[in-house]
Assembly symmetry: C3
Amino acid sequence: MFFNQLLEFLEKGESGVERYSILSNPEITSAASLEHAKENEISFLEKGSYLINQFDKTNASALILPDQESLIQKAVSKNISWVAVQDPRIGFAEILEKLYPGFIPIREIHKSAIIGDNVELGKNISVGANVCIESGSKIDDFTIIYPGVVIYNNVHIGKYNILHANAVIHPNSKLGDECVVHSNAVIGSEGFGFVPTKKGWKKMPQTGIVVLENNVEIGCGTTIDRPSVGQTLIKSGTKIDNLVQIGHGVTVGRDCAMASQVGIAGGATIGDGVILAGQVGVANRVKVGANVIASSKCGIHTDIEAGQTISGFPAISNKLWLRCAANFKKLPEIAKALRKLNQ
Amino acid sequence: MFFNQLLEFLEKGESGVERYSILSNPEITSAASLEHAKENEISFLEKGSYLINQFDKTNASALILPDQESLIQKAVSKNISWVAVQDPRIGFAEILEKLYPGFIPIREIHKSAIIGDNVELGKNISVGANVCIESGSKIDDFTIIYPGVVIYNNVHIGKYNILHANAVIHPNSKLGDECVVHSNAVIGSEGFGFVPTKKGWKKMPQTGIVVLENNVEIGCGTTIDRPSVGQTLIKSGTKIDNLVQIGHGVTVGRDCAMASQVGIAGGATIGDGVILAGQVGVANRVKVGANVIASSKCGIHTDIEAGQTISGFPAISNKLWLRCAANFKKLPEIAKALRKLNQ
Amino acid sequence: MFFNQLLEFLEKGESGVERYSILSNPEITSAASLEHAKENEISFLEKGSYLINQFDKTNASALILPDQESLIQKAVSKNISWVAVQDPRIGFAEILEKLYPGFIPIREIHKSAIIGDNVELGKNISVGANVCIESGSKIDDFTIIYPGVVIYNNVHIGKYNILHANAVIHPNSKLGDECVVHSNAVIGSEGFGFVPTKKGWKKMPQTGIVVLENNVEIGCGTTIDRPSVGQTLIKSGTKIDNLVQIGHGVTVGRDCAMASQVGIAGGATIGDGVILAGQVGVANRVKVGANVIASSKCGIHTDIEAGQTISGFPAISNKLWLRCAANFKKLPEIAKALRKLNQ
């Protein structure tokens, strides 16, 4: 594909094309990061990116840039075709979609798949090898189910879902449209509910369900438990990374992002647009307000108001935490100074 | 089912029924939490529960209550049928068992299951689609194995076990009776044992086994490793949540509870009745005494005496930690005050 | 096998045999730890090991010891056959290999395996029940694939690999020779790359690949993501424990060791010989120098120079951290002393 063809494609997209120069209109065969790009490859640079120091060395044939004169001049001086856009990262995502259209499995029910009684299968779906769909479940049109997936009974999977290999969906779970469940994720397993009795732990039956709305993404090995009654709910547009635990009865708002190894304990409520970095923990029944950002390893034990940026354990405002953490390193000095004063 | 029938059932159970009032004897079709309960639904309230403020708004037709006059009066004034018990949570668990008897898969060996040589299968067991049981393994009566489970060779699974979809049980593992292994859990995999040599890491062969006693529950994605020699042992009644790591050669006592994402390093010993909250870590060979409670994200690096409640990293008494954490937030002030004094 | 036969075997190995005494040349049928060893069992003791206090009670018939006169005298006085070596742990590993030769599955393609078009299968490989290998993939000689493994399209698995049950390998991944992928691990899944837009999170296509060089080991449930462009690379000899997350575009050096539940965020670079203890986190794009050792739960947010031993969050030198942590416990006293001074 030539650079001018990619430009045409970008102009139909969301990146906000401002201006460009085709120069020699190179053929673009693939994409790469600025430091690894070779001839006939396209790359991108974001405003203020740490990669700016790779610019002089890049061998890319074309670049997606923010609309900054100095960068454009650099591209021109290196004879690199360029396009300046409002959001280079969106532009790069669109170019990757164009250059790498992705593998679409054959739309068939593999002969080794085991389909239970009263299962309803939509049109143009793909069911891979050794998939097992138990009785009463329903799979809507255009959904792709990769090999080894197990779907228990009475599950409803909407349209255009992708379920990756060996994922497991437990009874009565409901997935909306355009969700992605990655390999080995488990949706709708029994919540960890046990009641202490004189004879030991008694299981609280977990009769509720898990609901994923639309356009939700669940990472590899991530586990989302169902509650004793009611539902565990992940609202539309939320993206969850690998090895995350979502406890029973949790509600997660719209368009949240959770990095790997986050753990949300039972009954917590996470507002819309919340971002949780890696290894964050949220305690039982805590309410985290909309658009809260929690930095990595943060431990959230009390309700957090909307819009806060928080850090540490127990979580405090990120600003305060940075100052506390800086002083933590000085604790031996502080203790020493105090001893001196007390002599 | 009508409320009086549920009462009869409760009176045979463990919740400790004290008194009740049937009132209009409503039909009870399902159960829900206090805030979500609708007509013909039963709910419960625990002593001192934060849900007390939902009482006035509830639409439940029946309630399981602690034996407190004020609560009973409230129920009566709202014309809600009620039963007062010693432990409402146990009562609710029993009611859920009654109302939702649970799905029992067909007792058959699915035709797609692959059963190795010299496998012994008990009576009334259920082996799901695409299950693989390798040679020399033995499955006792009434055990249920869901689709996609892989059981390596010479495993012994006791009676009334439930193995959920895509779980993996490695060679020579022994499971007692009435255990539950949730989806994608891995029991008996090789411990992480490597010896540093001049040529790099040399694998220490992991020739030991994993033993789960009776009534043990292992969460989704949880991994329990076998040791180089001897055994990794989880004693009866212990419940382990999702995505927990139990290292090689660990011993976990009876009736413990471990929340999600706990990690126990090799050779540690956990006493009876220990409770570890989410994301707790226990270091190599540490001994944690009976009935210790560790709060979330706690890092346990040294032996802990029985009965302690601990927090923080490194773990200290919870009481002390709460005071330290409160002062951590004041570190910038403390440093400032000290600078002032030193001027 | 008799003790003299094991000695012959040890002398060909890497443990560095110094001297020995066969005494009654006992038959050795198995191996055990010092405290659990019974008659006809062999055990070992390392220099300075905490197990020294078990020596007097051991019932082992033979011991691998460091070359220390006092230990040898003890063995002689208890009539235990002994061999003194430079590295007893290596010696014990070699003896375990000899005594427990390990289960080798039959070299066959199980009739239930699903093999796609244009799949190349090497000689003497073993493909277990219900394995699925998608089109275009290539498996080299002597590789063992256990039941339930799913290999997507265009994957290349080298020689002498072992893939345990229900592991998943995503498209275009490349594994070198002699790697081990444990049960339920996921290699090459889509990186967690989303671009914020006015309409919510837009997926950044993940068109890169994951490369494992030779002799790499990946724990159960561990997830290794592929990047948007380029590769995620794990270099030769590196060993990764269970439930670890390796983000997209990470490079891990040679001969590293990572304990369970470590998380490495996207784009980080880990040098050769790095050791990360349990639950350590490494932030986006951070560079960790060669031979760094990070203690458990450490949070690494900034580049770390080679050779450091670090602890805490944010990570500081282990020496400083130990002093800070000791003072953290005294914060209530420090605050009190300061209040007193200010009166």
